[in-house]
Symmetry: C2
Subunit: 259 residues, 2 copies
């Protein structure tokens, strides 16, 4: 695909504002380097440039991520390579099922009520807190002091509950992303040919945009989300697009250019 | 049954304190005069005396009930007869199913949650309010703004819910009454013979003691009540005892004595 057409695709997928660079880097390393691969500075620079990120912003973000212990770097000759630290890798591995899962979180949800006259719930919550004494949880409660009732897939929740599962702003983000992914699906007709860098740039942007939404919402089945939630659409389009845009080894991304 | 043995039965059934007279009269009229019968002053006096109520307290209570529009009186010769007013009869009729029902209220209960950020529930509540935004109701909710879940008979509710259905004090009353009714059942062996006044006094006391408990608790099935609730025991003993102690026409109660 020529640069002009490709830039238009990127601009549409990226949206009006460039992503925060350190956050985009977390996506890039999580997607390309979770297996322990190192990514050369040149490859990172090319991916970032294609997304509209200035080299200086990139350097600052790399420095910050290294300082935070998320990535590590090595010098090889005159240039540097970067990879996930032990911590960065562990967190990437932990987040991956949610980002890459092609199925929604599985079906069971419980509404759990605690005594409103008692202390608010402080437990580790596998779900979402509706009020200090009311949870939606992916786990049943094993406590005689709580009332728990399973929420079946066929029941509509009132808005004051489902809005706590996913606020209207995040629903809007999901709707917006679903539309962008839809346009990208149509643009990437089978006959469209992309080079490895182009594939990687699109792939990384897709993962990044979806990650920002899916990690923000609780890991609960779609049926407890509000009507405006387009997570299922996003999820299925992410699946189709990532299959079309396979993950490359970092060294294979840098097709011919030099940093 | 001789007077001494009978007085002992009454004393046990009545408990340590004589009932409030106007409340006992409500029971007497509700039980004996709901069909429009009039009760002579002499019969009322004999029932009251057997329960340990002074004639003066009786006169005051009759006066009060007449003033409240619950009963009406007629003079016949030198004495008076009393009957339920239209209002007193309507309220007695309304309460009767709960008092005399030999079955517990039927099985369906819903826990209903309203938006805690919204106004508290003001609706006519066929059940019990657990918090301003949480009801246990005998009716399902037909409102998309509420969350309602049916409480099946096999589930134990946490204490902070069941205690709102019936407080520990009322549970204790039910336990105490169940024990007294149990003793009465044993005392009234088939060979024990009672005259109509004795039957009526026991009958009225049984109805009175049960009425004070059953009308205090919400009309919900027993399975949402706390463990200490002995309503089912009371209900079944009331059924057995009232069958043993048939309702007499007021004129038939006054067996030979004169006021």
């Amino acid at each position: 695909m020529d640069d002009r057409a490709f830039d238009a695709l990127v601009a549409d997928l990226r949206g009006a504002q460039a992503p925060r660079v350190w956050s985009l880097l977390v996506t890039i390393f999580g997607d390309l380097a979770q297996d322990g691969s190192m990514i050369g500075a040149a490859v990172l620079g090319r991916i970032a440039a294609a997304i509209g990120i200035r080299p200086e912003a990139m350097r600052v973000a790399l420095h910050r991520l290294r300082k935070d212990g998320w990535i590590e770097s090595k010098r090889i000759g005159r240039s540097s390579v970067y990879g996930l630290s032990r911590k960065g890798r562990a967190e990437s591995v932990a987040a991956s099922p949610r980002i890459y899962d092609t199925h929604p979180p599985c079906g069971a949800v419980w509404l759990i009520l605690r005594d409103p006259a008692g202390p608010p719930d402080q437990s580790e919550c596998a779900g979402v807190r509706i009020t200090p004494h009311m949870l939606l949880s992916a786990r049943p409660a094993d406590d005689p002091d709580v009332f728990a009732t399973r929420i079946e897939a066929d029941r509509a929740l009132p808005v004051w509950i489902s809005d706590k599962v996913c606020d209207p702003e995040t629903c809007d983000l999901s709707m917006n992303l679903a539309a962008r992914l839809d346009r990208l699906c149509h643009a990437l007709a089978p006959e469209v040919r992309l080079d490895p860098l182009q594939e990687t740039v699109l792939r990384v942007l897709i993962v990044h945009e979806w990650r920002r939404i899916v990690l923000k919402v609780p890991r609960l089945p779609d049926h407890v989300f509000p009507e405006g939630w387009r997570g299922p659409d996003c999820r299925s389009r992410v699946e189709v697009l990532l299959a079309r845009l396979p993950r490359r080894r970092p060294d294979d991304v840098d097709c011919g250019g030099s940093a």
